[in-house]
Structures are given as C-alpha cells and as structure tokens.
Amino acid sequence: MAMKPLNRKAETLTSRSPDDVRPYTFGDCCPGFLPGWEVAANGQADACGWQADLRACHPCYWTAQVPDNATYPNWMDNCGNVAQDWETGLPLVGP
C-alpha cells in the first residue's frame, strides 16, 4: 500500500523529484537515513530509489545496509537485474 503525505512537509517532500541516490551519506559510502529499503519516493516497495548505485556502495563498508564485497563477494550473484531481483536476489547478511 502506498504511503500518503499527511502534512505540508510530507507533501513538499513527495512533490519533489525523487533523489535517486544518497542525499545523506556517511563518508562517501551508502545511504544513511533515507526511507530505507522498504519505501520508495512514490510510496511503493523499493530499494529507496538507489538500486542504480548499489554496486558503488558494495565495495564499501556500510555493512548495516550493504555488505562490502571483499567480505561477501557473492552477494550480488543472484541480482543480475537489480530492479527486478533486489528483493529476492540479495541475501540478508547478519552480524
């Protein structure tokens, strides 16, 4: 179910063109406090719009969201089509 903006600030945010990648970063690596993996800018389930940059995040250390590919080199092996496969193709990595 899509999320609906309930106040002016939320409406402002939803009226903006979606930021595809990383409005907030730690150092240089991966998204910090974007909506998360669950919700895209349009309210639909999505890897918060930054699938396109998943590969660039993967070599880095932001293991809370994207494991680095030195430790998990096979992490994206089942994700040849990021837009379609990220939900099922990316394995969860625990601490």
Binding site: D20, D53, V82
Partner: protein
C-alpha cells in the same frame, strides 16, 4: 539456448539478402535523432556516387561518406552477472553469456579476439566472436583485470575469504596475480595489501599505484614489492577540499596504453581526478568542480581526453590543459564508461532503466546524448568495447 534481451530500439530493416539497408540505422529510428540526418546524408551521398569521378574527387567523396556514416559501429559489452553484447548500429543485443556471478571488470586483448572478466568466481575468458565461456583461469573472487602493455599477460586482483566455524569471515590480503595469455599459467603472485580496490602495476620498470578501501593511495617505487608500500599520494594535489576535508578515491582506475600513466577519481569538494605519472613518480589533481559522485573513467584513443562518469552527468577533461571542457546531464544514474575506438562516442551503463537497464550513447563532438539502448534482462554495471579488429576478422 539463451534468451537474449529485447530492446526498445528497433533493429535495422533488412533486405531479401539479409543485409541491413543503408539509411535506416536502428538508432535513427528515434524521432529527433541526429543519426537520422546522418543516414539521410549517407543515402544522398551514396546516390551521387554512380557517375564517374576523378580519383581526387572520389577520395574526397569517400571522406564525405565516412563523415556521413556517423553511425556507431561498436560492439558494446555490458555486464552485471551476465554479459550482453550490443551492436550499437542495430541498437540491440546480438549475443551474450550467462555467468551467474557478479562481474566486476572486463578487458579485451588488442586483437579483439579474447575477453576476460573479473567475477566473484574468479577470472573467466570469453571468446569474443562466439561469446562462449572459455577457460576459468582463476577461482578466487576477482575485482580487476588488466592486460599488460606487451599483451603477453593479464593481471588479476583477487583475494580469499576464510569463513570460520562460527561463521566469522576473515578477508585475506589481496593478491596481484599475473597469468600468461599464451597458456593460462600463473606467472607470478604478489601480495598487494589489505582491502585493495585497484592496482596499476609498474611491471618492474616504473612505479605502481595501489588504491585501498581505507582511502589511501600508495605509490610504490619501481621494482619494490607492492606489499612493502611506498609513498602515500597527496589526494588534494594542489586542489584542497573546500568542505569537510574528506577525499575518497574510487575504484574506477584507468591506465594509458603504455601503462605509464594512471588515472583515478577522488570524490570530495571539489571532486577531482588524480593523474599519476608512473615513470616520474609525480601526480597532479584535475578539479572537476563541485561535489560529484564519480562512477567511471575512460581515456580517449589519443589519450588527450578523459571522460568522467559523474553518475548523473558526464564530464570531459582535456588532459593537455588539465581543464574541464564540457559536461552533459545524463538524466539517470550511470556506472562505468568506455570510449569508442574512433573516439567519437562514449558508452555508459545505466544500471537501472525501468525494469531492466540500458546503455547510454553520448557523442563527444558535439557533446550530446545520442540515444539509449534498453536492456530487458540485466542491469549493467560494467561496460566495455570489443576492439574492432575482432569484428573485421570475424566477417
């Protein structure tokens, strides 16, 4: 049989003999494309060549035809966990290889016959003409492949992960392994260090560069082992950061044909390119202006221009003057870049395009986006061009 991705750009119409008819290039099917004009020019020019002409006039006409034939003739290789080969003129996928392992880099021999990919399952060879998977040359996860300037060997950056009984993972030091292109035998293995992003080897005659995940870039003197390290390069290079002071080198390292100069992107404010003269052991920074996310580098064939993938835009740098000469918006996030053999175009991988990916084509003169080839079934993050020698010999 492998199912190939369809594309949104229609293939060029073919005559009864199966040949592609001139004046109807696939890219030209896009409304507003300047390629249409080029193709019209082709038809018009060819139409005028039926009468007898003096040799000089014929030569000039040939040059005109060549200029008018402004249709991309490249075979572009786009890869994610699989490889798709795209005929840029037809605007569609013509072959591919199923690897099912994340591909991190690719390289081609100068004769264009052999391709090598660095994958999470090691280095594979692919026959360019048939796109059949060949030798599985190494088995450790590989990040980078680089063919030596003499064409006799290929270097691969690899490492191993040891998984303990408790599931804890230990990342072992990265190695630079050199493999013979004649027989696939390992010629040498050298420890490069912990968590290495990329290596520009010195081949014993000049300095090497090693990029580390930690944000350090080492210049290792000629003849010295990589693991012994060297001098940390000044990433500012005279272009001091304006804010936060954080500068992060990215893994998109590129090396000139002779292997004597290395280029790598450094993100910061401003973002910049670091050019390292591996013979003199010097470096300089070329400021790109602004805080750009850098996702690929490619040298032009004459090595006078450097194309920088700035994710949503593309920047062109004149390496003679060390100045940015142009930039263009791409409209979406891209990864990687490669310049065509004639230096006229750049191909960039658009990792996500609707439910698949795409390859974006950018003309360099004038600087403009010429088109996009949609890929249904992969989201490419690595891109390369098979040298044309292979196609000439394959026909």
């Amino acid at each position: 049989m492998m199912k190939l991705a369809s594309t949104r750009i229609q293939p060029r119409p073919r005559g009864a003999d199966g040949r592609v008819r001139s004046g109807s290039a696939g890219l030209g099917t896009r409304p507003g494309s300047a390629v249409i004009a080029s193709c019209v020019a082709i038809a018009l020019t060819i139409g005028c060549t039926s009468r007898k002409e003096e040799p000089a006039a014929a030569s000039a006409k040939t040059a005109t035809v060549q200029r008018a034939l402004d249709v991309p003739r490249d075979r572009v290789w786009a890869a994610s966990t699989h490889v798709r080969v795209i005929d840029a003129a037809m605007g569609q996928v013509v072959s591919g290889a199923q690897l099912s392992h994340a591909i991190n880099d690719m390289a081609f021999t100068a004769d264009g016959r052999r391709a090598f990919v660095a994958s999470s399952d090691g280095m594979y060879e692919i026959d360019v003409e048939t796109t059949k998977l060949g030798a599985h040359l190494t088995t450790s996860p590989a990040r980078q492949v680089l063919i030596a300037p003499d064409g006799k060997s290929i270097g691969v950056l690899e490492h191993d992960v040891v998984v303990g009984k408790d599931g804890a993972r230990t990342v072992m030091p990265f190695r630079w392994k050199t493999v013979s292109l004649d027989d696939g035998k390992v010629l040498s293995t050298e420890t490069a260090g912990d968590r290495v992003l990329a290596v520009a080897p010195g081949y014993g005659t000049h300095a090497s560069v090693v990029l580390f995940e930690a944000g350090v870039v080492m210049l290792v003197p000629a003849g010295q082992a990589l693991e012994k390290g060297g001098r940390a390069l000044d990433l500012a290079g005279g272009q001091e950061p304006l804010a936060f002071g954080k500068m992060i080198p990215r893994q998109y390292l590129t090396v000139n044909h002779e292997g004597t100069r290395a280029y790598f992107p450094v993100e910061g404010t401003p973002s910049r390119i670091l050019e390292v003269d591996l013979v003199a052991g010097t470096s300089r920074a070329i400021a790109l202006g602004g805080q750009l996310h850098l996702r690929g580098l490619a040298l032009s064939p004459d090595e006078k221009k450097l194309v920088v993938n700035a994710m949503r835009s593309m920047v062109v740098v004149d390496l003679v003057t060390a100045k940015v000469t142009g930039s263009i918006e791409l409209g979406a996030a891209h990864t990687g870049a490669v310049v065509s053999e004639d230096g006229s175009r750049v191909y960039l991988a658009q990792t996500v395009d609707e439910k698949g990916g795409a390859v974006t084509i950018v003309g360099l003169d004038p600087l403009r986006v010429q088109g996009k080839i949609h890929l249904d079934d992969i989201s490419p993050w690595v891109i390369g061009i098979a040298p044309r020698a292979a196609m000439a010999s394959a026909r």
